[in-house]
Amino acid sequence: MEHIISVTVENKFGVLSRVAGLFSGRGFNIESLSVAPTLDPSMSQMTIVTSGDERIIEQIVKQLNKLIDVIKVVDLNETEFVSRETAIIKVHTKDVDRAEALRIVDIFRANVIDSTPTTYTIEVSGDPKKIEAIINLLQPLGIKELVRTGRVAVAREPVRQAAVQAKKIARE
């Protein structure tokens, strides 16, 4: 089963290779991995999409925790979470296709971020299903280039707790 694991790590030299080396050395799967600094510049946040049975996921979480540069590991599948991915897609657009391309962009609430007489560069965000769908629709027009960020995700704030928090803030 697919799992999204959120890993907080030290923001320093070589940490990415320790994490990547762990996955390759132990034969764990990485479907995607994204990493960027957090609000606290001494830490980075990684989002790893992986898959495996329960035993493998347990080992992945434990092995990640064992890495000395890893500060916190959360298997997001254990809670509610929201996830997003961005894709940038460069499509060929001959005269007749330009209108069709724009219609698709509109339907998916995507944006055209660059344009030439023969291409559109389209940016789209969403869950992986949405990205797959727009790619499928654009494919007949001719996709010249495609880049995807891989997923990022955060746990949902539990609703009750969020309500209490909101009240507290309102009171202050």
Binding site: V9, E10, F13, G14, S17, R18, G21, G25, R55, E58, Q59, K62, Q63, N65, K66, L67, I68, D69, V70, I71
Partner: protein, 591 residues
């Protein structure tokens, strides 16, 4: 006053209580060696190969329980020490290895003798550091020792570029370390420990399965108390030998692939496995799906990844063996009474039956070829009063050493289990001897393995490390030959060593002492002579080339299905009934 990086390095070693450094110089570490040369607090043992330095650090660490330290140069020095680091990583040995690196300005330029030390060592170290600024050196070394020796111990590498060893900085040594991503759990969960105690009280057929973790945490006393109080038999892994006294009536000896019959049967038929500091290696579990089919499993381990890695666990307890056992014993002390003894009487009857049915056996004819088991047995009997430290290489001789040398205490057993590194024994023995100059240190070696680090004899002679090497010389990569006889229809592909040096002359060539046992009747006299010699000694013992090590569970087999003796066709072949190839005859003659 400002110190150079090299001076800071030495000050740090002193603060960490390091008295011995196993090392071999080279261009980028010359400044450090030059500084070492001008002081007396840290002794430098000059090895002949960096692998030797690494294994010596391991032997030192296993015998003392403290970190062993080695120092190597960049490039080939680093690649040479990798085997030892990988060995230490697999067997959880606290080693701190310092490597030289090209100057920071040249890193990445394919400079002379440059290697990516961090990249090379990443998969075989617990952690590694590249020190880019001399101001970070002291703090890094402190962290390196802390990481190597706490939690699940392991090797740590500190890579020091040449310019960092020459640059100057103020020296302050931190008192403590705090790493936010590294906080080993020492105390076990109290509720889980209570669960464990209840399971132990109820079990009819419990077994203790103890490993290297008991040795690292110094929990032998607690283990003995637990076993005696509850009258539970004790199985030891290869790495756990010595954690529980080998001659104790509750000791079942080693379990696993070459474990004793009773140890494996007791494990297979138990209803409660109490695993303490052991990691369910495949040499122990055999076929995982049929491992301990009737048992509940309690697993105490400081490393959460060890738990449920290979087998299902019912009561996991993450924590230090000693701390957890103390707590567990305290609960049990209040509850244990005579009832358990009655409850377990049938279990003990069964175990005694197993013990009597198939004890470890071999047959030594009075005038026949020397049997390797006989050598280990006599060596044990002749030295046990001196509480020796015993190192082994890897192969059949290692297994016979494990079976017949019954260690009474922990930290006396130096062997390579996880990686199974031939050539480990001799340098490891030297490392232990360097730590304990007055103790008797033995190395039970194979004629194949010893040749992998023979060059260290020069180090032993130079540094006056009077290790006694006993070579069980069977003319073969015996362990390989055994598998070929059992599973490859006796085709000896590259297992016949063909030619072996005259080990007596070889010892003498190095300035050590060489002795040979010519017939079994001379065994005791020669061993005694070796033990009484105050120099490194090689005792060459030509042994019967076709002896096989039993019991044996074939790889992937079930624990209760052991091969206990040579199958009939093999017996035929050995008694001359079957065709013997000319190649084989040669070996019989030369061995």
């Amino acid at each position: 006053m400002k110190l150079t990086g090299a001076e800071i390095f030495i000050e740090c070693l002193k603060r960490e209580g390091v008295k011995t450094l196993f090392a071999l110089p080279g261009g980028v570490v010359l400044k450090i060696f030059d500084t070492l040369h001008q002081q007396k607090d840290v002794e430098v043992i000059l090895t002949r190969h960096e692998q030797g330095a690494g294994h010596m650090a391991e032997g030192y660490a296993k015998a003392t329980g403290k970190a062993g330290v080695c120092l190597v140069t960049s490039g080939p020095g680093m690649t040479n020490v990798i085997t030892a680091l990988a060995d230490a990583y697999m067997d959880s040995v606290p080693v701190v290895c310092f490597s030289g690196q090209v100057p920071t300005s040249l890193i990445g330029n394919d400079a002379f003798q440059e290697a990516d030390n961090i990249g090379l060592s990443r998969p075989c170290t617990k952690y590694n550091f590249l020190v880019k600024d001399v101001n970070d050196l002291a703090g890094t070394i402190k962290e390196a020792f802390y990481i190597a020796t706490t939690g699940r111990p392991g090797p740590v590498l500190v890579d020091i570029p040449k310019d960092v060893s020459m640059a100057k900085a103020d020296f302050t040594y931190p008192n403590s370390v705090s790493i936010r991503g590294y906080n080993p759990t020492v105390e076990g969960n109290k509720w889980q420990i209570k669960q464990a105690a209840e399971a132990i009280m109820k079990a009819k057929k419990p077994i203790l399965y103890v490993g290297g973790g008991v040795v690292f945490s110094g929990a032998s006393q607690e283990l003995i108390e637990l076993a005696e109080m509850t009258q539970i038999p004790v199985d030891m892994t290869l790495m756990g030998l010595g954690a529980f006294p080998g001659e104790h009536p509750l000791s079942m000896g080693m379990l696993g692939m070459h474990g004793t019959y009773q140890a494996n049967m007791a494990m297979h038929y138990s209803d409660l496995v109490i695993a303490i500091g052991a990691r369910f290696d495949d040499r122990v579990t055999g076929k995982v799906s049929e491992f301990c089919p009737h048992a509940k499993v309690i697993h105490v381990d400081i490393d959460p990844t060890s738990i449920r890695k290979n087998i299902h666990v019912d009561i996991p307890i993450v924590g230090d063996c000693r701390t957890v056992l103390r707590e567990l014993n305290q609960i049990l002390r209040a509850t244990v009474n005579g009832e358990q003894k009655d409850l377990r009487k049938p279990w003990w009857d069964q175990i005694r039956d197993w013990q009597q049915a198939h004890p470890l056996t071999y047959h030594q004819e009075k005038d026949g070829p020397i049997k390797p088991q006989q050598v280990v047995k006599r060596l044990y009997e002749l030295t046990k009063d001196r509480d020796p430290i015993v190192a082994t290489d890897v192969g059949q001789h290692q297994m016979w050493a494990a079976q017949y040398f019954k260690l009474a205490k922990p930290n006396r057993w130096l062997t390579s289990g996880g990686l199974g590194t031939m050539g480990f024994g001799f340098p490891a023995a030297m490392g232990a001897q360097a730590a304990f100059r007055d103790r008797l240190v033995l190395c039970i070696a194979g004629d194949g393995s010893i040749q992998m680090n023979m060059q260290e004899m020069a180090t032993a002679v130079l540094s006056k490390l009077p290790v006694k090497i006993i070579i069980l010389n069977n003319g073969f990569h015996g362990m390989v030959r055994q598998w070929q006889d059992l599973f490859y229809e006796g085709r000896y592909a590259s297992s016949n060593l063909g030619t072996t040096p005259d080990f007596v002359k070889l010892a003498e060539a190095y300035g050590a002492v060489g002795l040979r046992v010519k017939k079994v009747g001379d065994l005791d006299a020669v061993l005694k002579e070796a033990i009484a010699t105050d120099k490194p000694v090689i005792v060459d013992v030509p042994t019967y080339p076709y002896e096989n090590c039993y019991p044996m569970i074939p790889a992937g087999g079930c624990n209760h299905e052991m091969i206990l003796e040579d199958p009939p066709e093999l017996k035929m072949k050995q008694s001359g009934g079957a065709k013997v190839t000319p190649e084989d005859k040669d070996t019989v003659l030369t061995a």
